[in-house]
Symmetry: C2
Subunit: 223 residues, 2 copies
């Protein structure tokens, strides 16, 4: 019972900092997205494709910043840096999730006035990051089809909290024992409102629906 | 600082229970294996192949029990039950790892005198389960090649603690941008002693090396 109270206290303190982060981001007109998935589901590749897409000439260019959360190494931040966007690495030193305080310190390092959108790539973990609000406008779930069709039922918390799911690596479907229709049906049992983007971040196939979803989210800031 | 002390206290209490589990298993002549991986890396399929293998007629039949850890659902336990072996489901109700106390209670439900080997399938999570000893003789890491070659470097703790790694889904290599040699090299940088089994649990290819590793481990009990 004392343990449960302690955990609740930690989450309550986290939520207060997350609300402050959200206010700060809103004041600067930045929409923030918290990307959560298993290790290796394709969060960084999704960001790479997204940065390529929004780097193309547009009437209203979108200015993107990135926070990279990792247990160890700075590899994902190095991949993102090559796109010339502001990126801050949070190294959790073994920790299994980002929390709002880590993100608050990362926001200090970002040129918020020069950003429209902030992508926060969480630690690869389908469980723990879900409990920690960071101040985001939306949670983005990324699921690799190679993980199998039972993951939304077996790890429901993320899929309940997310606004959109990018169902990734669909180019592998012919080589896996997986039923995509059954996966979609089970996912909608967990969360009937969850939008699902069918995609392969490696080939780029299907990502138009992701960009359309993002554009709709970012419309609120007049981009 | 108080938070760090608290976490250390929790782990210390866990380790004491893990030692009691280990003593209890040893008294009954049961060797225990703690299987850890990301969600969907193939732990349950590895167990299915293993149960099939040891169900074949042998001079010294191996009596296997299974503990299934899941955040939600009893699906993996149902898959294992069809093989007619004793299986106990631990549902963590959202918790991100098994701990020694959960396993202690599961041991109460198992016919330890009638077992030679116990496989404990942990919650799918590459981070948290690594910190919690359960009383196992060895940690088995399972890594799906579809997760990408950077996982041992990015999530080193598991690969440091494991005695063997089953590198799974190698049938997908021709369809993924992945360099298996580079993965092996990076893994051995993290842990030069780690034995690596190259396999596809779906097709069964390569699992002879896994059975050989298991047979060596189980030799100690005279099986």
């Amino acid at each position: 019972m004392a343990k449960i109270r302690l955990v609740e206290g930690v989450l309550k303190a986290n939520d207060a900092i997350a609300e402050a982060n959200a206010r700060r981001l809103a004041e600067h007109g930045v929409r923030a997205f918290n990307l959560i998935s298993s290790p290796g589901a394709g969060k960084t590749t999704l960001l790479e494709r997204t940065l390529e897409h929004y780097a193309k000439p547009r009437e209203h260019p979108l200015r993107i910043g990135v926070i990279e959360g990792d247990v160890a190494t700075t590899r994902d931040a190095e991949r993102i840096e090559t796109f010339g966007v502001p990126v801050v690495q949070i190294n959790t030193r073994g920790g299994c999730h980002l929390d709002a305080n880590m993100v608050a310190r990362a926001l200090d390092e970002l040129p918020l006035d020069a950003l429209d959108a902030l992508f926060i790539e969480n630690v690869g973990n389908l469980v723990c990051p879900v409990s920690y609000k960071l101040g985001e406008d939306a949670v983005v779930a990324v699921l690799s089809i190679a993980e199998g069709q039972d993951k939304p039922a077996k790890y429901p918390a993320l899929f309940r909290r997310a606004s959109v799911m990018v169902l990734n690596k669909l180019d592998l479907v012919p080589h896996c024992d997986v039923d995509v229709d059954a996966l979609v049906e089970e996912t909608h049992k967990v969360n009937p409102q969850l939008e699902i983007v069918h995609a392969s971040c490696r080939t780029g196939d299907g990502l138009e629906a992701w960009y359309a979803w993002l554009d709709k989210q970012l419309g609120a800031t007049g981009v």
